[in-house]
């Protein structure tokens, strides 16, 4: 693994060389060379840090560093310019502790004289000398998934036993770079014992932790004596003790995985005994220890997931006894409380962050939205994704907000981040721009930036839609003026009989997908209805969605002019 990492490092250097020495005049055989490393996103709604109201601004970055944010920023002539008019820009998300892109190293072979009561450290999962950099690959699909979810930095944790090794802070930029921000940023630890050998249980792990810690302290003492006094026997520092040195000297934190309240108490108890720096990670059930977290000032990384709702959903409403109903109620209460925990942390004034370990990248925003629905403020949610982890990891100088001089790590969304329909369209990590397909159903763009050839959707479309109230339909008229798509739509008057017509807004074509919105006045209530459909020749199929009512199938055909003409 180490060799691969070195190789990746070389590749990274090579790639960097190509990028910065465009004057070489050589062709790029990989075809991956960027035309420019300078970008400008103009006139987007930029939220520079949690709690800031978004304001229209232009963001310019070069070689992975933000050159400027604001209005009236000069755009360098070599910059690739994106029109950001309809887009929202947030600081790139930071994962407080993750295992994306980590491959567990092979277990070493057991020696012939192996005794399970006294196994070598390496076999017993005590490998503090290892580094996550040796196990990490930036080109892993997990890294792609998390980047797609908005994550631009992860503190990756090595895989292993009770002391698997040192974490490293990685930027999730191009797969062929080293991506390292900080090596040895913390020592990973957990209460997991080794199977069938010492230490096998949480009780054994705690005892062994004390042993390792104390002897690492003594080894340093011995080394100091050896350096200053003649006649002292040669110190024989083990790799474990060497790997622990930065921890016992309080230079780096121990990142203890402690999902439950009891494990949190155990980690804090060890911290109190020895006084090392501590970060708690992987928190799941912590309602009962919020005061303790607060009073000890321990930084916490909570899991970016909510409990499985399978048990709650499996509860039957009929044919169960009162006893069972009472049990159901307790499970339901526990489930609801679990969703409120993050909000409780916020209320207690704890600047928590997230860990992506055990979480699904695809569910990340849904999880955040669930936490927000359960009382977490949007400001605190954004802080937990950006400025809080930057501060916990000690990288606030370069990450966590959108500021001149910080790393170009951005999340660019189609709408305000916390809106349900909002989607991540681009992620900028280390100054590299990653584009993601935006799902059809979301309306986006303003007709200016869509890439479809003008005229392909212009004309009169006859449509029908199926709703529970029955089938209805009308005409959609689309035309393009100065590249901007606009038009009207007619439909059955919800207030009476006959047809009414509304203007179309936010119309755009993205590939084969047409989407637009229009406002309907239904008895004094104004609803924004959106239609998204896929165009195939003269016909379109898609859905019509009405807020709070759901989406319904819609079909349309182009009646004039016909494309086949």
């Amino acid at each position: 693994m180490k060799k691969q990492f070195l190789k990746a490092g070389w590749l990274g250097l090579l790639a960097a060389g190509i990028l910065t020495h465009a004057a070489w005049g050589q062709s790029d055989p990989t075809g991956k060379r960027r035309v420019t490393s300078t970008y400008a996103i103009t006139n987007a709604t930029v939220i520079t840090s949690p709690g800031q109201p978004g304001s229209k601004a232009t963001v310019v970055f070069k070689d992975g560093v933000i050159l400027g944010v604001g209005s009236g920023i000069q755009i360098p002539k070599e910059a690739k310019v994106f029109a950001g008019d309809s887009l929202f820009i947030y600081p790139g998300f930071i994962d407080g502790a993750g295992n994306m892109g980590i491959t567990k190293p092979k277990d070493p072979e057991r020696p012939k004289d192996f005794v399970s009561s006294n196994p070598p450290d390496e076999i017993a999962g005590i490998t503090p000398w290892r580094s996550a950099t040796e196990q990490f690959s930036a080109s892993s699909s997990q890294v792609d998934d998390w980047r797609k979810a908005g994550f631009t930095i992860s503190q990756v944790i090595p895989d292993g036993g009770m002391l698997p090794g040192k974490a490293a802070i990685m930027v999730l930029g191009a797969g062929n770079a080293t991506n390292l921000i900080q090596i040895n940023s913390g020592l990973a630890a957990n209460f997991r014992g080794s199977r069938g050998m010492y230490p096998a249980t949480a009780a054994g792990v705690m005892a062994k932790f004390r042993d390792v810690y104390q002897n690492s302290t003594l080894a340093l003492e011995h080394e100091k004596m050896y350096a200053s006094t003649a006649g002292v026997k040669r110190p024989q520092v083990t790799p474990t003790q060497q790997g622990m040195a930065a921890v016992v000297q309080k230079q780096i934190p121990v990142i203890f995985t402690a999902p439950s309240d009891l494990e949190i108490r155990r980690a804090i108890a060890l911290q109190k005994e020895f006084g090392f720096k501590l970060i708690l990670s992987g928190l799941e059930n912590y309602e009962t220890v919020i005061d303790l977290i607060k009073s000890t000032g321990t930084p916490v990384l909570i899991k970016l997931q909510v409990p499985d709702d399978k048990a709650v959903k499996a509860q039957k409403s009929e044919g169960v006894t009162e006893d069972t109903k009472a049990q159901y109620a307790r499970v339901k209460e526990a489930y609801e409380n679990a969703l409120k925990q993050a909000a409780m942390l916020e209320k207690a004034g704890i600047a928590f962050a997230f860990t992506t370990i055990d979480a699904k990248a695809g569910d990340a925003m849904k999880t955040i939205q669930t936490l927000v629905k359960n009382g977490l403020s949007e400001k605190a949610a954004l802080a937990a994704l950006t400025s809080n982890p930057a501060s916990i990891l000690g990288i606030s100088r370069v990450a966590g907000t959108i500021e001149k001089g910080k790393m170009a790590n951005l999340v660019i969304t189609t709408d305000s981040l916390f809106k349900e329909d909002s989607q991540i369209k681009h992620v900028v990590a280390d100054g590299f721009v990653f584009d993601f397909e935006v799902k059809k159903k979301a309306a986006n763009g303003n007709g200016k930036t869509d890439g479809a050839p003008a005229g392909s959707v212009e004309g009169v479309w006859e449509y029908t839609s199926e709703t529970p109230a029955g089938s209805s339909g009308g005409e959609i008229v689309l035309k393009r003026t100065n590249g901007v798509l606009s038009g009207t739509i007619s439909y059955d008057d919800p207030a009476g009989s006959g047809k009414v017509t509304s203007p179309i807004k936010n119309a755009s074509v993205n590939g084969k997908t047409l989407s637009f919105e229009f406002d309907v006045n239904a008895g004094g209530l104004s609803l924004t209805v959106s239609i998204t459909g896929e165009i195939n020749g003269n016909s379109m199929e898609g859905s019509l969605s009405v807020p709070q009512m759901g989406s319904f199938p819609v079909k349309a055909t182009l009646s004039s002019p016909s494309l086949s003409n």
Binding site: A200, A203, M225, A334
Partner: protein
């Protein structure tokens, strides 16, 4: 007690109340009960006044100080909280079975205050349990003495902080099976068990010496003595040799019991209690003379070869030979009716009421080193109390209320169907079947992995 001792006691008491400031202390006046003090006889129609968790007054016609709740116990029996000297309730881990000596392991690290077993024990009148490491190792981990303050969320709040340290030892089939037959290392026989003990204590002496040498040298100028390797395993054994820890040793056979007595004599160890001790009746005078006694089952044996030679008269024989004797549960089920278990010593051995009740109160308190604080109803002791309907040694006895430090944690009248503190958000609610849990005894919990390679070679029995 002379004046100096009084002063000292007051001082120590004060220190303790500061240290334990966080655990709840209650005040209550229990009126007109038949008070079974255990150590000072029975008092008819008497009152017990508790203030701030401590028994303040025992007598007749005591008036309740303002703000103190009165409980009418007319026709009911009041006894000291029951103490179980052998339990594994409220532990997340029982066995760190991976080494023949694991004295560095602490059960206090893995106490789980949410376990429902605590509440069930309270419903059986048990206020203190000795949460022990399992019996897989010759020297197991250090135990925790728990006070059943149900509802506490911090494990520290149910650990009896003023109880002395205790440690688990185990002789015979369990350690020889796990380490000898299971793993191919010493001990494979009872001789090996003794060797592990003697080697361990001898190493502990050397360890202690090494640190004494280093500590004496390190302050001197030009010192070249380097710090020895830290080893909490040996340090704990050294603490045993220094009398700081009470040994509680899992044992069955008379020969192994006598062996440990001899080892203890050789290393000048005085604080020793035998657990299970089914053949204790054969060496009762020796146990009485040299140790802090035996903690036994009332009538439970024949679950493996070394536990065949047993008798229900064991407790009575030990008691009448002058050994401190207690009856324990080692079980989340038996712990709920230890008063019945104690009553069996009257059927088998004809012990008096006080002798039988002492088996589950003051005697286990002595074996845990807490008899100056709990185990009887005396002025100045911690107010761990149980109110019974019927005499506790009667077949009809039913605990009504259980107090720890004067705080009521169980009341049969407000006993809800679901007393769990914690329910998992992901719990699938399944139909409940009433049947005995065959795995209730946890002496050999967490040991399964050691047997996997040897399946079939061993009996399933795990006690």
């Amino acid at each position: 007690m002379n004046k100096l001792n009084y002063l000292l006691a007051a001082f120590v008491g004060l220190g303790l109340s500061v240290a334990q400031a966080q655990t709840p202390k209650g005040s209550v006046l229990i009126k007109n009960a038949t008070v079974l003090t255990v150590t000072k006889g029975n008092l008819e129609n008497s009152d017990v006044l508790v203030q701030d968790g401590v028994i303040k007054q025992i007598g007749k016609n005591i008036a309740a100080p303002s703000g103190v709740q009165t409980i009418d116990a007319t026709g009911k029996f009041l006894m000291p909280g029951i103490i179980d000297a052998h339990s594994h309730v409220a532990l997340d881990v029982v066995n760190e079975a991976s080494s023949p000596i694991t004295s560095e392991v602490r059960m206090k690290d893995v106490v789980n205050p949410f376990e429902i077993g605590i509440y069930r024990a309270l419903a059986g009148g048990v206020t203190i349990s000795h949460a022990m490491h399992g019996s897989a190792n010759v020297v197991g981990g250090q135990n925790a003495t728990l006070k059943h303050r149900w509802g506490a969320k911090d494990p520290a709040d149910i650990i009896m902080q003023d109880a002395p340290r205790t440690i688990k030892f185990a002789l015979g089939e369990n350690p020889t099976r796990v380490h000898g037959r299971g793993n191919g290392i010493q001990p494979r026989t009872r001789m090996g068990v003794e060797a592990v003990l003697r080697n361990g204590f001898s190493e502990a002496l050397q360890y202690k010496k090494a640190w004494e040498t280093y500590n004496a040298a390190k302050a001197q100028k030009g010192n070249t003595v380097t710090p020895p390797v830290y080893n909490e395993r040996l340090q704990t054994l050294a603490d045993i040799l220094d009398g700081k820890i009470i040994i509680h040793c899992h044992s069955y056979r008379a020969d192994e019991i006598y062996m440990l007595i001899n080892v203890a004599k050789d290393f000048n160890i005085k604080k020793l209690v035998f657990q299970h001790t089914n053949e204790g009746f054969k060496v009762a005078p020796e146990i009485a003379e040299y140790t802090m006694g035996a903690s036994v089952f009332a009538d439970w044996w024949a679950y493996k070869m070394e536990v065949y030679y047993s008798t229900a008269f064991n407790a009575a024989i030990l008691q009448r030979n002058g050994a401190i004797t207690s009856i324990n549960s080692d079980s989340a089920e038996l712990i709920r009716h230890l008063y019945h278990e104690a009553a069996k010593t009257q059927r088998y051995g004809g012990l008096t009421d006080d002798e039988a009740l002492a088996m589950i109160t003051i005697n286990p308190a002595k074996q845990l080193g807490i008899d100056d604080k709990v185990g009887s109803i005396e002025v100045g002791k911690q107010a761990d109390l149980v109110i019974f309907e019927s005499h506790p040694l009667s077949s009809y006895a039913v605990p009504q209320m259980t107090f720890v430090d004067g705080v009521k944690y169980f009341d049969i009248k407000s006993d809800k169907d679901d007393q769990r503190q914690l329910v998992a958000a992901t719990e699938m609610v399944e139909p409940i079947f009433l049947r005995a849990n065959e795995e209730a005894h946890r002496c050999m919990q967490d040991v399964d992995a050691y047997f996997e390679a040897f399946q079939g070679a061993f009996l399933e029995e795990k006690h």
